[in-house]
């Protein structure tokens, strides 16, 4: 009914004081499926999500979410979306069931229906056994599931999840991923932010890479990875001469260089044939490379490849207490 895009943003700009957090974000998120905003701390992911969810106003630019304008039709947008922020958005002193009933009643369900909806969601998110316990006693994973359950008490068309897996152990992260996949398969559009390439890769049909308040790349994970190179061949050189020779021979193909440790990295698909060919190419005499290692591309690699520079340091993240504080 409302076209094929769930989120359409053009030229979103936002400054907090003298700090320019967003410098013109353009996004087009197709309806259905999972869309990831991938970027380091301080890239502007949270600010973008807050603007799209009508919790903050952009200084410039426009955005249409679930068919409604975030500035002019705020109430309408709010009725069609829901948001789970990075920060605890449930009451710790209340039980899981109380939190969901409260949210359901705020979403417009009458008391009886709210109770039913809460019970349903508790079961669905495997929190039935903990329903009567205070949230303060929940583990990080349970809390996140409750957060997301609270997000679904209405019937949102678009769900925003801001760094849903931050602080979770690997098992809880898996469970969370299952939940997100299930959500998307139910027809909801999920827009999530993440710092992890792997997470975007696992979940998202499309993703946008954000850095320094701009979208630096947008596409499917396969597309993006093809540009970045799925994996890295990490080489350690015998001495400084060998290092200098190799670096000048490779030029821009050396996606990462470290003269101090005399290491160089090349993009590879990780297959034996490709790795063997690369080794033969860079070290035909079989004496210069002392060690090699194949590892996955990291977020840093994506940035190096896409922007030619490492991710912008989040030095300005303190601009607002909401703006993605640096985690230890």
């Amino acid at each position: 009914m409302r076209g094929t895009t769930a989120v359409e943003a053009e030229g979103l700009r936002k400054s907090y004081g003298s700090v320019e957090v967003l410098r013109g974000i353009d996004l087009s998120v197709p309806r259905g499926g999972v869309f990831a905003l991938l970027g380091p701390n301080g890239a502007g992911k949270t600010t973008t999500v807050r603007i799209l969810a009508t919790l903050a106003q952009a200084d410039a630019g426009r955005a249409v979410v679930a068919g409604a304008d975030v500035r002019r039709e705020r109430s309408l947008v709010r009725r069609r979306i829901s948001l789970t922020g990075q920060y605890a958005s449930v009451d710790e002193m209340l039980t899981g069931a109380e939190n969901l009933r409260l949210t359901a009643r705020l979403a417009g369900h009458p008391r009886r229906a709210a109770r039913r909806r809460a019970d349903e969601l508790l079961e669905r998110f495997a929190l039935g056994g903990a329903a009567g316990r205070r949230v303060a006693t929940y583990s990080g994973g349970m809390r996140r599931r409750l957060d997301i359950a609270a997000c679904l008490v209405g019937t949102p068309e678009v769900v925003f999840l801001d760094e849903p897996s931050t602080g979770l152990d690997p098992r809880s992260r898996q469970t969370l991923w299952d939940v997100v996949r299930e959500l998307a398969s139910g027809g909801v559009t999920v827009l999530l932010t993440t710092q992890y390439l792997e997470e975007a890769d696992q979940l998202a049909g499309r993703l946008a890479v954000v850095d320094g308040g701009r979208v630096v790349a947008e596409g499917g994970p396969a597309e993006l990875k093809a540009r970045v190179g799925g994996r890295r061949l990490h080489l350690a050189l015998r001495d400084a001469d060998a290092y200098t020779r190799l670096v000048s021979a490779l030029g821009p193909r050396a996606v990462h260089r470290d003269p101090e440790h005399r290491t160089v990295e090349l993009a590879t698909d990780g297959g034996a044939a490709h790795v063997r060919a690369l080794l033969d190419e860079v070290d035909p005499t079989r004496g210069e490379v002392t060690r090699f290692e194949v590892r996955g591309a990291t977020l840093d690699d994506v940035f190096l490849t896409l922007t030619g520079t490492p991710p912008t340091a989040p030095a300005h993240a303190a601009g607002s207490h909401r703006e993605e504080p640096v985690r230890g």
Partner: protein, 259 residues
Amino acid sequence: MAEFAPARGAGHALTMVDRSLRLSARNVDAVLVSLVLPVMLMLVFVYFFGGAIDTGASHGDYVTYVAPGVLILCAGYGASMTAVSVTRDMAEGVIDRFRSLDVGGTAVLTGHVVASTVRNLAATAAVLAVALAIGFRPTADPARWLAALGVLLAYVVALAWLAAVVGLLAHSAEAAGGFTFFILFLPYPSSAFVPIDTMPGWLHGFAEHQPVTPVIESMRALLLDRPVGDALWPALAWSAGLTALALPLCALAFRRRTA
């Protein structure tokens, strides 16, 4: 498709009242502190200082003189708890959830203010019970009792809205707690604990005209079955005026905080 907006707002406010009441009930230690401290102060005043304080023969026992003042002190503790809980809500992700559910500031703050008032009524009952047990002997009929409680209630509601403003402006629970000092100090330079004419002359002007004195004098007169005189209208005017001041400030501060 749009529901009637005021009805929706009222529904939100009711739900938020329910939430704040539940949270208060879970936060038993804070409620106890806001209750035990005034009671202790009353005992200190009555038994340690009371013997040395001469409030004039017309007041009877010191406990009878001081009980209304302790109720006002209690209201101060209650208000500072409200300021802290508003600040906490604004600092956490909870407020984002409410806003993304299109719950307005009015509903959120109404929840806090109503819960604050209910907490205060409970504390008032407890303080009165202790006061009665140690010799407080009000002589009022039920109508005057109700009037006295009404005066107190108006003051409590005014303080709660002021506390909400402070809670919205403060960026940490500690800062919001600083509100405690100001509100708890106010009863001292008033007729709450000692008659004003025992204070130095330069203090009389402030002590007589600050909000606490007319509220306390009205309650005293109502409870002890004496003519209320000209204390009642200033008391109600102060409470109404403070509330009328706090409401637009709340709206402004909420908008500024969530911009």
